[in-house]
């Protein structure tokens, strides 16, 4: 996937546009609601029985190794599992302290955010949000910085840490190839409990709301993923607060890119203002030095002039004194001579 110079400059320009997008939002009333008719999935945790059929199906359709713990192995729930480079989805069990209530299962995978932070923070733009909803990843440009994994609020991305040659970021693709063929994602087809529903995201929100309306005792009144950090393609229903399912409940509806990259709007200001500002500081310093030097020289010249004047005055005084001394000496000598003469005349 080579890129022409024009393409590169174009993408830089596009990037500059994206950088100022925050400012544009502030000055216009336009708002992008997301691609219309995009797909999503609804996981109803009140229907999920924790059978992990989705894990097996996911491994199959993505040509990943079979989950090491077979279906029915309940020991797997002893620890909290995360997705990995070989498991794009995992189901975890959540029990309350007393163990009175039946356990709740939550399926974890890439949530396919409406405004994906992984895509925003990628410095080679390896992630793309497709109009169909899934986020795609291009390993051909990935440099392996793993900022996307840092940025993901759902801990849904994984990396091939044991691959020294061409490690990739590994994650659920929402079965994009299958969606393109008109098929359901693997996990949705495999779920025997009907806990996973695939469809248009806007329809799924209606389905979820409908269930909450019909069974208000069964559900808490919250569709997780509708608004959290700008919303996700995967939506969730639950009978207990999502906080207890290890999810950040009650977070802002603003997207993470909107919160997290606003600072970048300062960068063009630094680039444009600093050179002039700093050259100004330099000029002030120079000017101060110059003025100080000029003042010093003026003071020196004045001192020199004053010194010369004083010297002249002193010289003339000395000359005067010398003349006076001379006159006095002459006078004394004359007086003396006259006196001597007078004395001689008397004798």
């Amino acid at each position: 996937m080579s890129m022409s110079r024009r393409g590169f400059l174009g993408s830089l320009a596009a990037g500059a546009g994206a950088l100022s997008a925050g400012a544009a939002d502030a000055t216009t009333t336009e708002h992008f609601e997301g691609y219309p008719g995009r797909y999503g999935l609804l996981h109803d945790t009140t229907l999920c029985v924790g059978c992990r059929s989705c894990e097996v199906a996911c491994a199959e359709v993505n040509a990943l190794p079979k989950p090491p713990q077979p279906i029915g192995d309940l020991d797997v729930f002893d620890e909290v599992r995360r997705t990995s480079a070989t498991a794009f989805t995992v189901v975890n069990q959540y029990r309350d302290g007393d163990g009175v209530e039946p356990p709740v299962y939550r399926k974890l995978q890439c949530m396919h955010c409406n405004e994906p932070c992984c895509a925003t923070v990628c410095l080679v733009h390896a992630f793309t949000k497709t109009p169909e909803g899934p986020i795609l990843y291009d390993p051909e440009v990935c440099i392996g910085c793993r900022y996307c994994i840092m940025a993901c609020p759902y801990y849904a991305l994984a990396y091939e840490y044991d691959n020294p040659i061409d490690p990739r970021v590994m994650r659920c693709t929402m079965c994009y190839p299958r969606i393109k063929e008109g098929l359901n994602p693997g996990c949705a087809d495999a779920c025997p409990a009907g806990a996973i529903t695939f469809g248009r995201r806007e329809d799924l929100i209606e389905v979820a709301r409908d269930r909450i309306r019909k069974f208000p005792d069964r559900y808490i009144n919250h569709v997780f993923g509708e608004y959290e950090f700008g919303g996700t393609s995967w939506l969730m229903l639950a009978g207990i607060p999502f906080r207890e399912l290890d999810l950040h409940e009650g977070v802002t509806h603003e997207s993470l890119p909107a919160i997290g990259t606003s600072y970048l709007s300062v960068v063009p200001l630094i680039v444009t203002i600093y050179p002039g500002l700093l050259a100004g500081f330099y000029a002030f310093t120079k000017r101060k030095d110059k003025l100080a030097k000029a003042e010093l020289e003026a003071a020196l010249a004045e001192a020199r002039a004053r010194g010369e004047e004083e010297m002249k005055a002193k010289l003339s005084q000395a000359a005067e004194r010398a003349t006076k001394d001379k006159e006095r000496a002459v006078q004394t000598a004359v007086t003396k001579a006259l006196a001597e003469k007078a004395e001689g005349g008397q004798s």
């Binding site: 993408s11 990628c122 080679v124 793993r146 890119p257 600072y263």
Partner: protein, 390 residues
């Protein structure tokens, strides 16, 4: 003076310093060869929960801050007319250049596909990423630092025409360096603004870019004091300034350190107030936060002020060391200690000994290369042929 310059480090190859450094570097090379043949998993404790560890936390995040002395002191001398600090400009710029080079080496070790490092600029750009801006700035600033280091090289090689040329670029390079440093030092902090649920609220802040920038200035000033402490002794025969002049420079730096740390403290307190996180100070994380804020910001700030007032060099050095520890601790907290503070204990990250070894190797490499430069080139002293040029 220049005759004595080539004496140090030439008492045979097998000096204790060289032996220890050699063992450390050899170990680092072996670990890195394992890393590049079997992947990151074999030599690091990185995981899908903790994709960044010591190599990013220290080699990149702390490394960039500790190498800030170059832009701080060159701006002070060349832009703001503080000419009395001229004697420390060259060591600071060399430290900066080597520091940034080590950052890049550390980054290459950490990247999954390091040979693709230039991809953001030649293959496909992701300009919405704070990291894109950081990479662009670091690449440009490394070039600036290299050019700023060349006067010493040209003087050493006797290339007068080239020396005069880079001399004429000084002000432009300094402005460019300060601009690039402002951008990437702050954006390194901004990189964590996308993780409000993962980074502990005491460290997460909308003002983290400003905090990173100001603390980097404090780290830069402190590193100049520490670097002077070590090299003033090691290269004492080269140093031209009197001990009194050297002390005065340190007292001035201590004053600067006190002011910058006080500013940093104010910025941190304002962030606590804006986000109203005061109640969190009573928690365990709050205690850890106060260790960083009081032990490594308030205390060195006071020590710097006292060191300046009472002209106590030892105190200035203690303050500088505390400041450096504090900035490193802050970068550690942000990138892996207070990061993922909510995940179960068994998923937390602690560096593997191999990660620590590689980081120590990088620091050692920096010291060895600095010695190599400083014992040959006019770093600690003015070259007799170019007395007034820089």
């Amino acid at each position: 003076m220049s005759g004595a310059a080539s004496d140090s480090g030439h008492n045979g190859i097998f000096t204790p310093f060289n032996l220890i450094a050699g063992v450390i570097l050899l170990g680092g090379a072996i670990i890195l060869s394992i890393r590049f043949t079997t992947g990151l998993a074999a030599t690091t404790n990185l995981s899908n929960t903790n994709p960044w560890g010591l190599w990013i936390g220290f080699d990149v995040m702390a490394g960039v801050a500790l190498a800030a002395g170059g832009f701080v002191i060159s701006s002070a001398v060349f832009l703001f007319g503080m000419k009395e600090y001229q004697p420390v400009v060259r060591p600071a710029l060399l430290t900066g250049f080597l520091g940034y080079s080590l950052v890049v080496i550390g980054l290459l070790a950490d990247l999954g596909r390091p040979w693709r490092l230039p991809y953001p600029f030649i293959k496909q750009a992701g300009p919405t990423s704070p990291l894109f801006e950081v990479s662009l700035c670091v690449a440009l600033y490394l070039t600036v630092l290299f050019i700023e280091t060349t006067p010493a090289i040209f003087e050493w090689l006797g290339l007068k025409w080239w020396r005069r040329l880079v001399g004429q670029l000084t002000v432009v390079l300094t402005i460019f360096g300060l601009m690039l440093s402002t951008m990437h030092q702050s954006t390194l902090g901004a990189m964590f603004m996308v993780t409000p649920t993962k980074l502990h609220p005491l460290w997460y802040s909308s003002q983290i870019p400003v905090q990173f920038f100001i603390s980097a200035i404090a780290a830069g000033i402190s590193m100049i004091i520490i670097e002077g402490w070590v090299s003033h002794r090691a290269f004492h025969h080269q140093v031209q300034i009197t001990d009194d002049e050297f002390r005065d420079i340190n007292y001035g730096l201590a004053k600067g350190g006190a002011v910058v740390l006080a500013t940093y403290l104010a910025v941190k307190l304002v962030a606590l107030s804006i986000e109203n996180e005061w109640r969190l100070l009573g928690t365990g994380w709050g205690a850890w936060y106060l260790v960083e804020l009081i032990g490594c910001v308030v205390v060195p700030c006071i020590l710097f002020a006292v060191a300046h007032r009472e002209r106590r060099l030892g105190l200035a050095r203690v303050a500088a060391a505390l400041t450096v520890i504090g900035v490193v601790l802050n970068r550690f907290n942000v990138s892996f200690i207070a990061f993922n503070y909510q995940v179960p204990h068994e998923m937390r990250y602690t560096p593997a000994w191999t990660e620590v070894w590689v980081t120590v190797s990088l620091i050692t490499l920096g010291v060895v290369v600095f010695r190599w430069f400083a014992s040959r080139m006019p770093i600690m002293y003015d070259h007799p042929d170019y007395p007034a040029l820089h």
